[in-house]
Structure formats: structure tokens, C-alpha cells
């Protein structure tokens, strides 16, 4: 109750004071020193009593600060390794400060401003907003772009956020995955390695700990919630995204469809502009794709403007889809109403 009488220190003031105190110390501060002296904690610290609440507050604050990229480290007190009460905390200046040889030109700053704008809705919006604040800290103006851009990338897969969080925390996750052609979804348990967008779709590149095999999952086909298993894994620090993208690219390259398009149609115009499309001597188009089911949906949208020539399974898939759509929209006939 004594706490309520002391003036309330705003959260940002407590966090700011903690960062300043830990930046200023070479040898580190013990938890007790922090709680008893740092602004925002000291007002609530009891020299004789129980500080369990305050200690929990400190744990949460450490997480919040680290999330901003502040490298808060813990040191064992000399000669007392493993003694939790004597851990010391500090923020090493070299790991905290942006290296002094890093600067950004006006053009680079403008490009980064656009890159941040890409995420303005939903996922990664807080991160990109804060990155821009840090970028502005360096001074540097932004060149006015010749042409105004308003780019935006939205992630519509519900699995993205939980997968990203697990990727960040190196947690093993579980989800149900529906493979095309299979009637039932199967539960997968995987260590997330990378999230990559290829041809407009997000994929999770992950390792199956049971088999040691890496696999790529289309987020759209994750049909359950992504849940954590309570287990973590030791991540490989090397870039996983290039390997994941290269693998997807290879799959994409290995599938080619030949289609006939009605001249001057929407299909002709748009499919010709699709990445990697080639026109044959006879005027048909050769298209690459990653996934027969997805490209079949896309081609079905063009209705009679597209005729799939090959491969036969894609031809079959598109014609079956067209029939399905036609049947589902066959107007309820008088027969239905009048027997």
C-alpha cells in the first residue's frame, strides 16, 4: 500500500532510465542495485520487504528493451558463476551503438522510407516504424522522389504471425497441414528456419526434428492454429532465406505449362507479363509454376481466354474447375422449384 503514495513514474521513463544506467556501467549492476537505485524502480523498492513484484517488472522490462534491439547482457559475478542473485547486467556500448562508419545517403534514406512503408499494415509495422525513427536519429534528409510511391504488402495468412514469433524465439511448433491431393490434413512438428515470399505467396521453410529433413510449407495450406510445443532448438545463424528461395525457384522452374490464349485478351496481356513467360513459334505461351493446384485456380479465372495444352494433369485440373464453377452457378432451374 505504501507504493501508491509514491509518484507514478511513466513506463517509458523507467525503461529510458534503465537503459541509461546500464549503458553507463562498465562492470555491470546487480539486480538489487538496479531495483534500489534506478528511477522508476527505486520509488517502489523496499529495503526490508519483499520485492517479488518489482523483480517480475524488471524481467518484463528486460524483454521489452531487448525487443528494441538493445543488447542487454548478463555477467556472472567474478568467482560466483552460476549464482543467480549475483548476476550483473549491462549494455555494452559497442554492441549498442550503430557503428560510426555506417551512414545513409539521402537516396538510401528515401528508399528505406519506402521499404518501411511496405509494411504499414499489420505484420512488421511496429518494427519498420521504429527502424525509421532510428534512421532519422542519424540526421540526414530524404531526397524527394521523382515519382510518388505508395507500396503495401499485406500478409493474409493467419499462420504468419505465430510462425514468425516461433522463428524469432527458436521454438518448435506444431500445425495441421493439408497437402494437395490428400483428403486429410496431417499434423507436422517442425523447427522454423525461414519465412519467405515467392511468387506472392508466403512459405515456411522448416526442419522436421524427427527426420532431419527440411521442408517448405505453403502458409495458405496450414489449416490449424500454429502452436508452440514448449521445446526450442539451436538455430543455425547462417542465412536460411536464400536456400529456401533457391529451392522454391527450382521447383518453379521445373514445372512448365503450355497454354493457348485468345489474342488481345486479358489473359494474353497478363500471362505474357508474368515472370519467365515465353512465347513459342506457334504463339502459345510457356508458363512456369510452383504448384499445379494454385496455377489451376489462376488459369480458371480466365475462363475461355485460356486453353491448357499441357501437362495433361493441369489440363484436367482446369477443365474440372471450370465445370465445377459452371455447375455451382447453374441457375436454380424451374425443375428445382416445381419438381
Amino acid at each position: 500500500m505504501a507504493q501508491s503514495s509514491s509518484p507514478r513514474v511513466p513506463v517509458e521513463e523507467r525503461l529510458f532510465s534503465l537503459v541509461l544506467a546500464l549503458l553507463a556501467t562498465e562492470t555491470g549492476l546487480s539486480k538489487n542495485e538496479i531495483l534500489s537505485t534506478v528511477q522508476g524502480y527505486r520509488q517502489r523498492y523496499s529495503a526490508s520487504g519483499d520485492n517479488a513484484n518489482l523483480e517480475r517488472q524488471f524481467e518484463r522490462d528486460k524483454d521489452d528493451i531487448r525487443e528494441l534491439g538493445v543488447p542487454l547482457e548478463t555477467l556472472d559475478a567474478p568467482g560466483q558463476a552460476g549464482n543467480n542473485q549475483n548476476l550483473r547486467y549491462r549494455i555494452p556500448r559497442g554492441a549498442y551503438e550503430l557503428p560510426s562508419d555506417i551512414s545513409f545517403s539521402a537516396e538510401e534514406t528515401a528508399l528505406l522510407g519506402l521499404a518501411a512503408m511496405v509494411w504499414r499494415e499489420g505484420s512488421l509495422s511496429a518494427e519498420s516504424r521504429r527502424a525509421i525513427v532510428k534512421l532519422r536519429s542519424l540526421g540526414g534528409g530524404t531526397g524527394e522522389p521523382v515519382l510518388g510511391y505508395v507500396p503495401s504488402l499485406r500478409v493474409r495468412d493467419a499462420a504468419f504471425e505465430p510462425a514468425r514469433s516461433a522463428l524469432e524465439k527458436h521454438q518448435i511448433v506444431r500445425f495441421s497441414y493439408l497437402k494437395p491431393g490428400e483428403a486429410d490434413a496431417r499434423v507436422r512438428t517442425v523447427a522454423p528456419l525461414a519465412l519467405v515470399q515467392h511468387q506472392g505467396r508466403w512459405h515456411l521453410h522448416a526442419l522436421e526434428p524427427d527426420t532431419g529433413v527440411t521442408k517448405t510449407f505453403l502458409l495458405r495450406r496450414i489449416v490449424s492454429q500454429v502452436t508452440t510445443t514448449g521445446k526450442t532448438f539451436v538455430p543455425d545463424e547462417t542465412d536460411q532465406t536464400s536456400a529456401a528461395l533457391a529451392e522454391l525457384e527450382q521447383v518453379w522452374n521445373s514445372h512448365t505449362a503450355e497454354v493457348e490464349v485468345t489474342p488481345d485478351s486479358d489473359a494474353a496481356s497478363r500471362l505474357r507479363k508474368r515472370r519467365g513467360t515465353r512465347t513459342t513459334a506457334s504463339g502459345t505461351l510457356l508458363l512456369h509454376y510452383s504448384d499445379a493446384n494454385i496455377v489451376a485456380d489462376e488459369l480458371t479465372g480466365y475462363g475461355p481466354e485460356v486453353l491448357v495444352l499441357s501437362p495433361p494433369e493441369l489440363r484436367l485440373a482446369v477443365s474440372a474447375r471450370l465445370r465445377l464453377v459452371a455447375e455451382e452457378h447453374a441457375t436454380p432451374t424451374e425443375g428445382d422449384d416445381h419438381g
Partner: protein, 325 residues
């Protein structure tokens, strides 16, 4: 729930404080207005932050936050003239590094934008990404977007804007009609994989939105533009509802709902029946609708009006008939 909101705001404020201090150190004297403009924040937010910085510091050897352990500010200049002059600094010397996630967000954003003509110099972009990685306190998280080739149409649009001349191209609308358009380009927008040009259309004498992949043979002309981007107010929304729009009732599989989000008016209600949601979408004409619905086979069914339903059926049946031959 309320708990979560608190720390989020506080984290943003902390990032601002840690970024503002080195910026102020680099500017011996700077007006509140200039700082607010530089960081794109309200002036009052700058004043609040400066007031907090000025009373903050380190516990110091005494653990008592003595005078020399605190930041200090020329208070008169601040209160009377709205000028910021830090007179004493503690603890902070330089700007903070990016977090691994922040660096990854910017890198993936740059990757997504790789079709822009501004990205044509791939070596410069690669070095920019490397700088972001090096300027992060942890390896950037493993999130990436596939690179795309520089878009030739975007490059020509940019040329016409730089030269201040009208752009001419052949446009195929979703009704399947070709028309030669002359426009004053105003802005390029994107939504995920789709890119759009918003421009003053001299044929329609109004602002129009064009899909880049429906533009053919774009060419700069020698005709100067009539409308500059600064003079035309564009709405925030890429697709504006118009009085001529048609409302269509559909049944949709819940999984496909996010794919239709752009078409569902805010006021639309939805009701579940037999595992499907019945809701309303807004379309400018049924030609676009038939493509949209056929592109989501088995996931969306048009309920009414019957004319819309028939157009989808005819479209799909005509497609299916090509396989009977």
C-alpha cells in the same frame, strides 16, 4: 489485453527517446518544429520527450541522481523560444542499432520493391542491405521476399514524370476493351503482387487507376502534363466505391474470406450457413466479378443477382467447352 497496449506504446516512446538524444547532440540548437518535422511526430510529443530527457540520467556513484549525473537543458530557451539546447549529456553518445527484426523488415521491404527503377543499381541495393545487417544488434530475422526484375513500364512512367510530359499507352480494361489512353501520372501504388498507376486520364477527364499488367506499349509523349501530383488530391483508398457499383450476394468458404477483403464493404453483414459465409461484395461490373469468382473455384458462389450468377456460369461453361472439342 490493456496490459499489452501499455508496453507497446512505451517501447515506441523509448525508441524515440534513444533516437532523439543523439540527434539533439548533433544539433547544438534546434527548434521544436524542425525536430517534429524531421521525425514526423507532433510538436507536443517532441516537447514531452525533451522534458523527460532533461530530468533523466544515471544513478551515479552516489546512487542519488546528483546534478552532474543528469542531462541538462537551456530551460529558458526551451520554455520561451521553443528551442532545444542540451547543455549536459550523459550515457548516450550515438544512435542505437537496429534490432534483428527491424533490419529484416527493411531488407524484406527493399526486396519487395526490387521492381522499381530506383532499384536498378543492384550492387547499390545489396550494399544498402549489407549496411542494415551490419547496423543491427542481432542477425536479421530469417524473413525474405523474392527479388523481381526491374519493371520496364515503371521505368517509362518515371521518365515521363521526370520530364513532365504526358504518358500514352494501350489499356485493356477488365471488360476486355482496348483503348489508347493519355495520362498525367500521379502516383504508383501496390497491393501485394499487383501494381497500379493512378493518373489523370485525358480521355475520361478524371483520375483513374490502371493495373500495370494491363498497360501495353507505354510511351512518353512531347505533350506537357496538365496536372502535377501536388495539384490533385488522391483518395487514400485505391478502389473507391462509386454510385454505379453493384452489390452481389455470395457464399464463401471462410478460408477464402481474406482474399475478398478488398471487395467487402464495411457495412456488409455476414451469416454462416452450412460452413459457408453469406455476405456481400461490391464490384464495379460483372466482367470483373466473373474472373474473380472463377479464380476461386469451389470457394465462392454467387447467390444473386441472377444476372451476375448467369455471367459466371456462362464464363466458366465457355471455358469448359474448350476442353470438349
Amino acid at each position: 489485453m490493456a496490459e499489452r497496449r501499455g508496453p507497446l506504446q512505451a517501447q515506441d516512446k523509448l525508441a524515440f527517446l534513444l533516437s532523439l538524444v543523439p540527434f539533439l547532440m548533433d544539433h547544438e540548437r534546434i527548434g521544436v518544429g524542425e525536430v517534429a518535422a524531421h521525425f514526423s511526430v507532433p510538436e507536443e510529443e517532441v516537447r514531452d520527450a525533451v522534458r523527460l530527457i532533461a530530468v533523466s540520467g544515471v544513478p551515479g556513484e552516489t546512487g542519488q541522481y546528483q546534478h552532474g549525473d543528469l542531462f541538462d537543458l537551456a530551460w529558458d530557451d526551451f520554455e520561451d523560444n521553443d528551442q532545444i539546447v542540451l547543455t549536459h549529456m550523459v550515457a548516450i553518445d550515438d544512435s542505437p542499432r537496429f534490432s534483428g527484426r527491424e533490419a529484416a523488415a527493411l531488407i524484406a521491404g527493399l526486396q519487395y520493391l526490387s521492381a522499381l527503377p530506383e532499384h536498378a543499381d543492384r550492387a547499390a541495393i545489396a550494399s544498402l542491405m549489407a549496411k542494415l545487417s551490419r547496423g543491427a544488434s542481432a542477425p536479421p530475422s530469417q524473413v525474405a521476399v523474392e527479388d523481381s526484375e526491374t519493371d520496364a513500364t515503371l521505368a517509362i512512367i518515371r521518365e515521363s514524370v521526370a520530364a513532365g510530359v504526358q504518358l500514352e499507352f494501350d489499356y485493356l480494361d477488365s471488360r476486355g476493351e482496348h483503348e489508347l489512353r493519355r495520362v498525367d501520372p500521379l502516383r504508383i501504388e501496390s497491393l501485394d503482387a499487383d501494381w497500379y498507376l493512378r493518373a489523370w486520364c485525358h480521355l475520361r477527364e478524371a483520375v483513374r487507376t490502371f493495373r500495370l499488367d494491363r498497360i501495353s506499349n507505354p510511351q512518353t509523349t512531347s505533350e506537357p502534363i496538365s496536372y502535377h501530383a501536388d495539384e490533385v488530391k488522391l483518395s487514400e483508398k485505391l478502389f473507391e466505391g462509386s454510385a454505379d457499383d453493384r452489390m452481389v450476394t455470395i457464399d464463401v468458404a471462410p478460408a477464402a474470406l481474406p482474399l475478398l477483403a478488398d471487395y467487402i464493404p464495411e457495412e456488409a453483414s455476414s451469416a454462416e450457413r452450412d460452413g459457408r459465409l453469406r455476405t456481400t461484395i461490391r464490384v464495379s461490373h460483372y466482367h470483373g466479378l466473373k474472373r474473380l469468382v472463377a479464380g476461386l473455384p469451389g470457394l465462392v458462389t454467387v447467390v444473386e443477382p441472377s444476372e451476375a450468377r448467369r455471367m459466371v456460369a456462362d464464363w466458366a461453361a465457355a471455358g469448359a467447352a474448350r476442353y470438349d472439342a
